[in-house]
């Protein structure tokens, strides 16, 4: 979230699209209700189904799964055509005025630089025009035909309400009503918040769905203000913490990238990863990357890391290719992975195409499952009848199950969607032999280190020499780890403004990442978390509920990254002169000497407005990007592409592109998976998967009460589809995709209706995901038996939200 949960109450309009917070985030949804009641906010829900969120919405529109960009692109066009944009904000705080490289272009669904054989782009032309000093050229009048504003206008000219209707199924009049309501927040005294979740990410164009809303919020001037922002509602209590700490194959903690083979030494890596300013007078905060990165290496390797040995950059693994979850299971499927550690993860239920996963897991020599519960993955080798037809004798994978504690059985911190790190305390003793994950991992590490010490190996140093200074080596405490993550001074850090003073004395916990150094005199395990455990103790354990402004940002409650900041880009809550856009939402303003307000300014506090520094300090041009440059795989402007399984045979937005532009041209498809994509002739209905409020993923089916509240698997189908197939409510039905079939009960509903898409009726089938063959609920098929093995072009999130099926009475 750029903002935070409680801040939703400050919104005038709440747009829920790509999410279903009333069901998936019922506790956070209280703030939407609060906005409605206290702020007279209007709630818009756009979704493939009429959800429990829609049940309390002011406006609802049903769209076809996988057509969000068509809808949002239509909104962008509507805002531009009707001048419903916050002009001064757009001119000053976005790259609308920046001139684009003359070679940049877009034709028939493809941007310049496409290589069909590689399914990727040469992004050289997706760039600004620069002067001889490498600074970007701008036209503040926004009239130059090569400026971003004009290019954007041209790009979205095709996204007319009529075409939106033909593609999404939302009637043009309804679409316009919603676009108008969204556009109403371009006024300086009106703000919209956007709440989304996996309904936007689990598409082959997932990242571009989010780009779209970011553009809309910039055009409306809704970023950086209370009640605004682009707010990702995270699906697990600590999934924000997971990404922050870089538990992804291409990341290190704090969103620093894991080096690749093309970055063999520290100098190359830092040169490549540290952005250079392209506009005068801008902060370009990530110019500090070397400080964050070297401090991380010091946290990893301690005294072993010295300036002379490049802080042991050589000890870091270097990626040769990506190892996202699809790539990993593809490699496993090819028999190229021997062993797999599966910690707090149930991939057999959570990764697409179960029919591919079972042979993949069967090719492993061993699998270690660390989990508090029995997962389907851990018993994949067992025959569970129709729910898991396998020949156990043919599977030789050895499975080790290590019981772990659950959150209530350990101390630690959880980072929620608000970027808030909240410390929690153990409430119960773990059952049986369950041990905290930290202890399990420490035990494995210590055993491995012994083996390396005894037997040597190809490259033992990073393991044998890894500092491990915990009081109990086999059980590092969460407190020790949290202090390490925050970081400390390894020498006295002199104050650059006054050499007689120090920012921190040797051995002290650091107060802020602003004190990190690139010379090895500081350490920090995750720079964005620096400030969470200072000399004043554990900031995450703070429980001061005071809310002095009534805006809900409670600065004394726990601790938010970065720097305990509750709203990101908050300098943008004021106009270029430093005055609040809206007196009711006065947040960070210039008082003549510095930037002040109820939050930590996301800005250089003493830079007067006249200096012209822009609020988006994390980009190297200082402004928000309407044009994403080379940041995205499939183009600098989001473009509608159909899901990989689609009822259409050509893309209505680029009909001349043919098969090439039907679906995302930059998405990766493995050999063998394309053959497993179904066609509309055989699989005429569009399916989408989702959660229900009664369950949490595949966990709560193990608890009696949740099992009582939603006991058995079902599919939601509209009344028209039911009568088409002769299905009655409660009948058993078979849902079939090209990859497999599942049997569930039918829930026939008015809440999904047939959509007119390009003149034809298209039916949507809703598939909740929660059942499996373990737990107290009625045993069920894993929904991912049906889903396609293809992901988003940028981060490979699987396309769980739009694929084709057929439905028959069982």
């Amino acid at each position: 979230m750029t903002n935070h949960w409680a801040d939703i109450k400050n919104a005038d309009v709440v747009l829920v699209m790509g999410g279903n917070p009333a069901e998936a985030h019922p506790c956070g949804f209280k703030w939407v209700i609060e906005a409605k009641i206290k702020n007279k906010a209007r709630l818009i829900v756009v979704d493939p189904r009429f959800t429990r969120t829609a049940a309390v919405a002011d406006k609802f529109a049903q769209l076809r799964p996988g057509t969000d960009i068509a809808f949002l692109g239509g909104v962008i066009r509507y805002l531009l055509e009707n001048d419903l944009i916050q002009k001064e904000y757009v001119r000053s705080y976005t790259n609308a005025a920046f001139l684009l490289d003359g070679k940049f272009g877009f034709d028939d669904g493809l941007f310049t630089g496409y290589d069909e054989a590689k399914r990727s782009y040469d992004k050289a032309s997706w760039a600004y025009q620069v002067d001889k000093d490498g600074q970007a050229k701008v036209d503040p009048t926004l009239q130059d035909p090569s400026c971003v504003y004009q290019a954007m206008k041209r790009h979205y000219a095709r996204y007319t309400p009529e075409l939106v209707e033909r593609v999404t199924g939302v009637p043009a009049a309804e679409f316009i009503e919603i676009a108008k309501l969204i556009g109403s927040t371009s006024a300086t005294n009106k703000v919209m918040t956007s709440l989304y979740a996996l309904g936007w990410t689990q598409h082959t164009v997932g990242s571009q769905n989010i780009r779209c809303i970011a553009m809309i919020q910039l055009l409306l001037g809704n970023m950086g203000l209370p009640g605004g922002g682009v707010n990702a509602l995270r699906g697990h209590s600590n999934i924000q913490g997971l990404t922050d700490l870089g538990v992804m194959s291409h990341l290190l903690p704090g969103y620093l990238g894991l080096p690749t083979e093309k970055e063999p030494d520290l100098k190359t890596y830092l040169e490549k990863r540290t952005p250079k300013a392209v506009r005068p007078g801008q902060m370009n905060y990530l110019q500090n990357t070397p400080k964050f990165f070297v401090s991380l290496l010091k946290a990893f390797y301690g005294a072993e890391a010295t300036k002379e040995n490049d802080f042991h950059f050589d000890w870091l693994p270097k990626n040769d290719k990506t190892y996202d979850i699809l790539a990993t299971f593809e490699l496993m499927y090819q028999g190229k992975i021997n062993g797999y550690f599966c910690q707090g993860f149930n991939p057999l239920a959570s990764v697409p195409d179960k029919g591919k996963l079972i042979p993949a897991l069967s090719k492993l020599k061993f699998m270690v499952v660390i989990d508090p519960l029995v997962t389907e993955t851990s018993t994949f080798w067992k025959n569970h009848g129709e729910f898991n037809e396998v020949d156990s004798k043919a599977i030789q994978t050895e499975v080790f199950r290590l019981p772990a504690t659950c959150f209530a059985e350990e101390d630690g911190s959880l980072t929620n969607s608000s970027r808030q790190l909240q410390w929690h305390w153990k409430a119960a003793e773990p059952p049986g032999e369950a041990r905290p994950d930290i202890d399990v991992m420490a035990g494995i590490f210590l055993a491995l280190r012994e083996l390396y010490k005894k037997e040597g190996g190809t490259f033992p140093d990073p393991i044998v020499k890894l500092p491990w200074g915990y009081a109990k080596p086999g059980a590092p405490s969460p407190e020790e780890v949290a202090r390490e993550v925050n970081g400390k001074a390894l020498a006295d850090i002199p104050d650059p403004k006054d050499k007689t003073k120090t920012l921190a004395k040797e051995g002290e916990q650091l107060a802020t990442f602003a004190h990190l150094q690139a010379d090895g005199s500081t350490s920090a395990g995750c720079w964005i978390y620096t400030g969470s455990w200072t000399q004043n103790g554990n900031q995450m354990a703070r429980r001061e509920a005071a809310d002095p402004t009534g805006l809900g940002n409670t600065p004394g409650w726990a601790w938010s990254w970065p720097a305990n900041r509750r709203i990101l880009y908050n300098r943008a809550s004021a106009d270029p002169a430093g005055k609040a856009w809206d007196a009711k939402r006065k947040y960070i303003t210039w008082n003549g000497k510095k930037w002040v307000g109820p939050d930590v300014p996301d800005f250089k506090v003493d830079s007067p407005p006249e200096e012209g520094m822009s609020p988006f300090i994390m980009t190297n041009e200082g402004v928000g990007r309407l044009f994403a440059l080379g940041g995205m795989a499939e183009g600098p402007f989001p473009e509608h592409y159909e899901p990989f399984e689609t009822p259409l045979s050509s893309n209505p937005f680029s009909p001349k592109g043919g098969g090439k532009t039907l679906s995302n041209p930059a998405a990766r498809v493995y050999k063998g998976d394309r053959e497993k994509f179904g066609l509309a002739a055989e699989f005429p209905f569009v399916a989408t998967t989702y959660r229900l409020t009664e369950h949490f993923h595949f966990w709560t089916k193990h608890t009696r009460i949740a099992a009582v509240l939603q006991p058995e698997a079902f599919a939601e189908i509209g009344e028209e589809l039911a009568s088409l197939r002769g299905i009655k409510n409660g009948d058993r039905v078979v849902i079939k995709s090209k990859r497999g079939a599942i049997k569930v009960k039918a829930l026939v509903t008015k809440r999904i209706h047939a959509l007119k898409i390009e003149g034809k009726d298209v039916h949507t089938v809703g598939l909740p995901i929660h059942w499996g063959y373990e737990g107290l609920t009625k045993p069920g098929h894993l929904t991912n038996t049906l889903t396609p093995f293809v992901g988003d072009a940028n981060i490979q999130t699987p396309e769980f939200k739009a694929f084709l099926v057929d439905v028959q009475k069982a």
């Binding site: 409605k36 429990r52 009664e694 009582v708 006991p711 039918a746 829930l747 809440r751």
Partner: protein
């Protein structure tokens, strides 16, 4: 259970007034359907607090689970899909006991003290006095009490009388994430409900209304209905009231008729004796049956 005997206002099958009921605040639970998201946290909390565990059932094509109230499910979210004024509505009702001011169950109950009404308005079942006749289920205009197949006692929502007795709110209120369920004095709850109507009317629910049906003397669970003119759309009776037979049964007239009947029978007996004298018993030997 945890409220004290002095708080009892009336009890089933008993003509005597309980000794000096204390004057306590009339309470109410307010269910604002316009902010309810059907998450079933209330159902879950009810099961947790009251230690109820219904069976893991099957899906019959509805979000309502379990399918009905039972001795193990004292509250239930009922989901109704309705098209009202051309607009699809998913109406979600948190069903359960409405704690009538004039409780039909209590009126119908023949077991002394099995159903109590406290001075604060809560209607509570005392299972130790319940004889399992099920009359209360027939007497309830909302079809709420459920007879247990296990112990032949009747169960329903207690409005968490045990929590309220020690100053806590009902478990469902505590668990509700959106503040759709409130608890307090009935006066305050009605005031809040009125306030909600203003917002709902402004949003286009011109017929929004408070559900506090007069046919049962008002209830201690009141609802804000966005479609206040159509309680049936939510699955609520439009005009719940205690049935006429039951009313007559418990009225003064019935009592007078009962007393009159008693005296009439007595009088008839005396008259019969005066006319015919005592009944002669034949000699004992005639009664014996020969083997």
């Amino acid at each position: 259970m945890a409220l004290m005997s002095l708080d009892v206002l009336q009890q089933s099958a008993s003509t005597s007034t309980p000794p000096q009921a204390r004057t306590t605040l009339e309470v109410a639970k307010l269910i604002d359907i316009s902010r309810c998201i059907g998450c079933k946290a209330c159902q879950s909390a009810c099961m947790e607090w009251n230690d109820l565990r219904d069976e893991v059932g099957v899906t019959e094509g509805f979000y309502t689970n379990p399918p009905d109230l039972s001795d193990q499910s004292w509250t239930l979210m009922r989901f109704n899909e309705q098209v009202i004024y051309g607009r699809l509505q998913w109406l979600i009702l948190k069903d359960g006991c409405y704690h009538c001011e004039d409780p039909g169950c209590l009126k119908a109950c023949p077991a002394p003290g099995a159903i109590l009404q406290y001075a604060n308005g809560i209607v509570d079942f005392q299972q130790e006095h319940c004889i399992g006749c099920g009359y209360c289920t027939a007497g309830c205009p909302f079809n709420v009490p459920r007879l247990s197949g296990k112990d032949s006692k009747v169960y329903k929502c207690t409005l968490c009388s045990d929590r309220i007795a020690v100053g806590l709110e009902p478990a469902c209120v505590k668990a509700c994430p959106t503040g759709a369920i409130g608890f307090g004095s009935k006066e305050d709850m009605l005031f809040q409900a009125e306030h909600r109507l203003v917002d709902l009317v402004e949003r286009g629910f011109a017929k929004a209304a408070i559900y506090d049906p007069k046919g049962v003397g008002g209830t201690h669970v009141v609802l804000v209905l966005p479609h206040g003119d159509r309680p049936e759309a939510y699955g609520l009776p439009a005009n719940p009231r205690v049935g006429p037979v039951l009313q007559a049964w418990r009225s003064g007239l019935a009592r007078a008729a009962g007393v009159a009947t008693m005296f009439a029978v007595l009088a008839a007996g005396i008259l019969h004796y005066m006319r015919h004298g005592p009944l002669e018993v034949p000699p004992e030997g005639d009664q014996e049956v020969k083997p």
